[in-house]
Symmetry: C2
Subunit: 391 residues, 2 copies
DNA sequence: TGCACTTTGGCAACAGCGTTGCTTAAGTGG
DNA sequence: CCACTTAAGCAACGCTGTTGCCAAAGTGCA
């Protein structure tokens, strides 16, 4: 019965015109609950969960969990995996996600390099390919290179059932339409409908997002409990990905996360962007001067501004510059941030942890794959709202 | 049948322990759809909407809309109100919200004044009371004064069915537990469980929120279409309320919106908070020096930082200082903000409108009442997630 | 005036959802 | 070996939105 349902999540494949508020019906309810249980199964990891535990965590009745997990098992998405120790009665049967049941492609198109991953349902990379890329070359060349690399990772797991591809790019873009906007330094991509082009080239549903957003989305999967954090990415520029309440915040026009051009020095030194005293200019100047400690101090002040404005749980650092000297940056930013917060703290003085983003150089590509997988799982926050980039 | 349901929204009154992701069942589905239609009815205002229009906007079938609106009419929340012109067949029957069917109290406890409103379902004030208040006095005095004022507005509409009270306070607090945290300058309120105390005193469900959040929430109701904006409140201090995707963003610990203590001048002049170069210090210094233009310029730089980080649609200004000279501030901030954005704009150059927040001195109290009313209406964004302050 | 047509909205039957009551399965402990 | 406990499935159920059909209420043309 359920094996013929196109997407196991039950969410509408194309949600039509954006409505102010949407009513819900039974198929949506069913898909929602399935996605919630799938999310809980994934969160449980290899240890698995019993049906009763799923019931407690989801708020569904045990019987409903039994029915829904039976459908998930029919679809091959979940399986029984041993039993718990008995507590005086029949032992609980452990259910586990079947990671290999579905796969997703993650594609990170950077200015000089492309990274492609094939990720399984658990979000783990099954295959990774990395190759030089000239994003400044023409669209046909870039598309062909991307398609070839995607074919390679698909060949690495021939029987993998791929549900879509997530693509991460630098620069402003519109994740709803999948169109690029003025990629800094590469005007030829202005207004290019990359999502549509890639979808046709690959023959797969494609979601497009900014690199920092993809990374932040991927990082959010590692954090249980619908947390919130800011991911600061210091590389050739300084950007941020914001996760608020467990979901990536993209803003009205996918423009959120412009962290680098916040002014922290009124009438300060000019920045390449045309403004003065941008944190990116100050930071990169310090990096160029070989003073990572000063860069970290400035970054910490900006991080404090972000933490106070958004009240996030923690701050994650990533990007090439940070990865080159993680300790200095993590400690420097933590000290600076702590100093700022502590100065304010008339008692409360909460401290916000600063850490290096896990995942290393594949984090963005893996996050892009997660964007696709997210359509299967229940959003930690607004169930029916679903993840913004609908396939 | 439906008149015996405790809350017409169908949402659980107390949601128990916070769960990672929650499953949904039929009562929740029913409540959700009722709330969605109620929201659409309210959005339609006095003009009303037909059943078919409700069906189009909600995505529900016309028959479902008929059933659900029939229940709303039974509960007295909606009523038929005339007909549209015919377009060649039977004319559409217009449905309208019955504003007087329910009411909510809004209570704004400021440092030196309290404002109490009784708002109807449409969010319009039915009665307003304003009185001096010394928030520094003991809790019993403040509670008694609040209770007396609430009794007054209730007496102004004796037959009003009041569903709860929303309370807005300055300073950090926890909106989930309803406990105050270190209200600046009033240490005696530290850790005071204001929500519980007021709920007992008034005999009503109470939601507690920060004043800027309440104002922002109220302002969000006037903006159709799940927009996002930053509300900057310049009074004795400088704070902000953030509305992202139609919902107030409070952060992990209700601490979001600390706009005033973002550093915009590294190693700048010391601020009362202990840091240096806070925008609040710079702004208030300019105000004290009788230079609102400079204050507006600085505010505009901070607003630009916020707009770029969060990609909001617009910026609203409020608070006593702004209300004292709205034109100067609105124009000054708009010019400064535009200058910042235009400098960056390598083409796009979108402009973000700046305007004075409507509502004037009652905006906070009215917003607090809206917090209560929101529990009846469908959240524009995440349906089942519901509004953060659960009654 | 009358008839054809269009559109709205209610009625009744229906499929599908989670829920409830009960039964069976599968252990522990005396 | 039996009483007890806990887990999970089966069947009936209530309720949801949906579908097919029909009455109501207009317009427009003959």
């Amino acid at each position: 019965m359920s094996s013929e349902n196109p997407p196991p999540s039950g969410r509408p494949v194309s949600d039509g015109p954006a409505r102010y508020a949407s009513g819900a019906n039974l198929p949506l309810l069913r898909g929602h609950n399935a996605a919630v249980l799938l999310e809980l199964l994934r969160a449980a990891g290899e240890g698995g969960v019993s049906r009763l535990e799923l019931a407690e965590r989801s708020g569904l009745t045990p019987q409903a969990v039994s029915k829904i997990t039976a459908r998930l098992r029919e679809d091959g998405l979940a399986a029984e995996a041993g039993r718990r120790a008995s507590t005086g009665g029949k032992p609980r049967t452990v259910l586990r996600l079947v990671p290999g049941a579905r796969h997703a492609i993650g594609l990170h198109l950077d200015r000089d390099e492309s990274v492609t991953v094939l990720a399984d349902l658990a979000g783990e990379p099954v295959a990774v390919r990395r190759a030089p890329l000239d994003l400044g070359a023409g669209a046909p060349e870039v598309l062909a290179a991307a398609a070839a690399q995607v074919a390679e990772v698909r060949a690495a797991a021939p029987e993998a059932q791929v549900i879509g591809a997530g693509v991460a790019c630098p620069g402003p873009l519109d994740h709803r339409t999948g169109v690029l906007h003025r990629v800094t330094g590469l005007p030829q991509w202005d207004g290019y409908p990359l999502r549509a082009a890639l979808a046709e080239q690959l023959g797969l549903p494609v979601v497009l997002d900014k690199d920092t957003n993809a990374a932040a989305h991927g990082l959010a999967q590692h954090a249980r409990g619908a947390g919130s954090f800011g991911y600061l990415h210091l590389g050739t520029g300084l950007g941020a990905g914001l996760v608020l309440g467990g979901a990536v915040h993209r803003g009205a026009r996918t423009g959120a996360g412009e962290f680098g051009h916040q002014v922290v020095q009124l009438d300060g030194p000019p920045c390449g962007c045309g403004k003065r005293g941008c944190i990116e200019a100050l930071c990169l100047a310090a990096v160029a001067a070989g003073d990572p400690a000063e860069a970290a101090r400035v970054l910490g002040v900006g991080a404090a501004n972000l933490v106070e404005l958004l009240d996030v749980d923690r701050v994650l650092l990533g990007g090439r510059t940070v990865l080159g000297d993680p300790d200095t940056y993590v400690r420097g930013v933590a000290a600076s941030l702590d100093g700022q917060l502590r100065a304010r703290g008339s008692g409360g003085a909460r401290s916000v942890p600063v850490m290096a983003a896990p995942g290393g150089p594949d984090a963005v590509a893996l996050g892009a794959a997660h964007l696709v997988l997210a359509s299967l799982f229940g959003a930690p926050q607004g169930p029916f709202a679903g993840p913004p980039p609908v396939i």
